[in-house]
């Protein structure tokens, strides 16, 4: 693969929070176009922090991050433009409760990209159909189930036609029976060649969809590998212990 296909380049990134807590230490990671990278690890290991530094929701303390050819934490970077090319899906959906589902999808295209209302509407309806919620366009988020809300949130991110999608534990807040419908949407995205970074505890999904799985612990990337080896014969003691625990509790 050529250099130009690297969409995300994290180099020796450190992050210390204002209260002195270390979020990341010396993290390096590369994600190429079309790649699906899953990030797993115990709670508090820095998975969210890493994801949130990618679109500068969190500033970093050391190192450099390049996304889509731009230096994310360079003050000269037009962050709003960069963020528009980077979709993000949150554990708690974060839909805009005062707007209808359709308006949730149309807001950013209209306000940020200046898309004409008719065009934005068309695109929003097409995306809702894609996530199986065409009939919910005029509802408010509060009227939907968790699984439906998360699918709307994915559609909302897709409405900006991003080149990369970031997912931070997208199914962790869902009732178990709703997890599948969200993962299915994500599988479709992956099969269409979307570049994705997914923080998840869904080992089945990671194993089936990811090109690479990354294990984090205490702010560091401890191990990364192709899913096959990662889950069956990882060359790392701590990952084996973690997987043993997770599989036992599952």
């Amino acid at each position: 693969m050529t250099e130009s296909q690297v969409l995300i380049e994290v180099r020796e990134v450190g992050k210390v929070y204002g209260n002195g807590v270390v979020g990341l230490r010396g993290v390096s990671l590369q994600v190429k176009r079309g790649e699906v990278v899953c990030i797993i690890g115990p709670s508090g290991s820095g998975k969210s922090t890493l994801l949130r530094t990618l679109n500068a929701l969190e500033p970093i303390s050391a190192g450099e991050i390049r996304v889509l050819g731009e230096s994310v934490h360079d003050p000269r970077t037009d962050l709003n433009r960069l963020r528009a090319r980077l979709g993000m899906v949150f554990q708690s959906f974060n839909l805009f409760p005062h707007r209808t589902v359709l308006d949730n999808l149309m807001l950013a295209p209209r306000v940020v990209s200046g898309v004409k209302p008719e065009r934005a509407r068309e695109r929003a309806l097409a995306l809702l159909a894609k996530v199986g919620l065409a009939d919910k366009a005029d509802m408010h988020p509060g009227q939907l189930s968790g699984g439906q809300q998360q699918r709307v949130a994915i559609a909302r991110a897709l409405a900006m036609q991003p080149e990369i999608m970031l997912f931070d534990e997208p199914t962790s807040a869902l009732d178990p029976e709703k997890v599948g419908e969200v993962l299915d949407v994500m599988k479709v995205l992956a099969s269409e060649g979307m570049t994705m970074c997914v923080v998840t505890h869904e080992m089945g999904f990671a194993r089936a969809v990811a090109h690479r799985v990354v294990f984090m612990e205490a702010g560091e990337i401890v191990y990364e590998d192709a899913p096959e080896r990662f889950f069956t014969a990882p060359a790392n003691e701590r990952l084996r212990a973690f997987l043993g625990q997770v599989l036992k509790s599952a």
Binding site: R83, F90, N94, L107, A108
Partner: protein, 317 residues
Amino acid sequence: MRSNPLAGRAGAWLIYLVVLGGIIGGLYVATQRIDYSWNWQRIPQYLISNEGQERVAPFDGFVAVAEDGHSLTLKEMKGSRSITIRDFDELLVGDGDLVFENDPLARKRGLVAGPLLVGLWMTLKISALSLMAALVLGLLIGLGRVSRNSAVSGLAATYVEVIRGTPLLVQIFIFYFFVGTVMELSAFTAGVAALAVFTAAYVAEIIRAGIEAVPRGQMEAARSLGLSLPQAMRHVILPQAFKRTLPPLAGQFINLIKDSSLVSVMALTDLTKAGREVVSSTFSPFEVWFTVAGMYLLLTGLLSYLVRRLEKRLAHD
């Protein structure tokens, strides 16, 4: 029947009426003991009077009345100006009279607003104008309070502290005597400005609380979609904050109407000042002040009614 909820409500109403009646009766007995003679019949003329409207002389001059008595011309004494008045019912001067500025010339009969109603209108105008100014100023300062720029948030916090830490009456004096003089403001403008500046501090705190009550994830979601900070504020945060701030804002604006009575210390005839003037000409302080209180209650009651309706409408969507 103890378990009947209707009986419970009826009982509560009964107690309410008995206590209220007791208080009113007590007031009546109390005024009996000080030998106060009630003159409620004097009050209506100060709300609406049928004395009609007087036309007064705009300058010193001599009057000339037309032969049919239906028009009057005033010629300036030391100049060449002259005016003619035709629209009147009753002459108050005679042909050839010398009158001075502000002397009454003629009267037009009919119903006109009495001093209390004029005062109410002034109170309404002052309150409405300062309300709008306080909303705008309060929004800016509230946004300043939540700014990540510590110079901006520090300035906004200082504003709130200073305004909330000093009495409104003192601020009104400062606006009237200092700011008003320096900037050559009319008493009206100074009064509106003082009330707006005062109320804005409270509005700012209400708006800050409203913004902070919106979950952090809302701002993050908006920013992750590429919205700038002002865009996220305008389209995502403020609409959600507004709903939460409506009840406390309404309370603040009811306070504003009541606080506006303090501007009567300036040369402004608002409802309270009008009340004082009417008292001094009727010697019926009890009736006048009860009437004035009732008129304030009408304003504040109307406002809370409107806000409740707006809240209901917002709750639906």
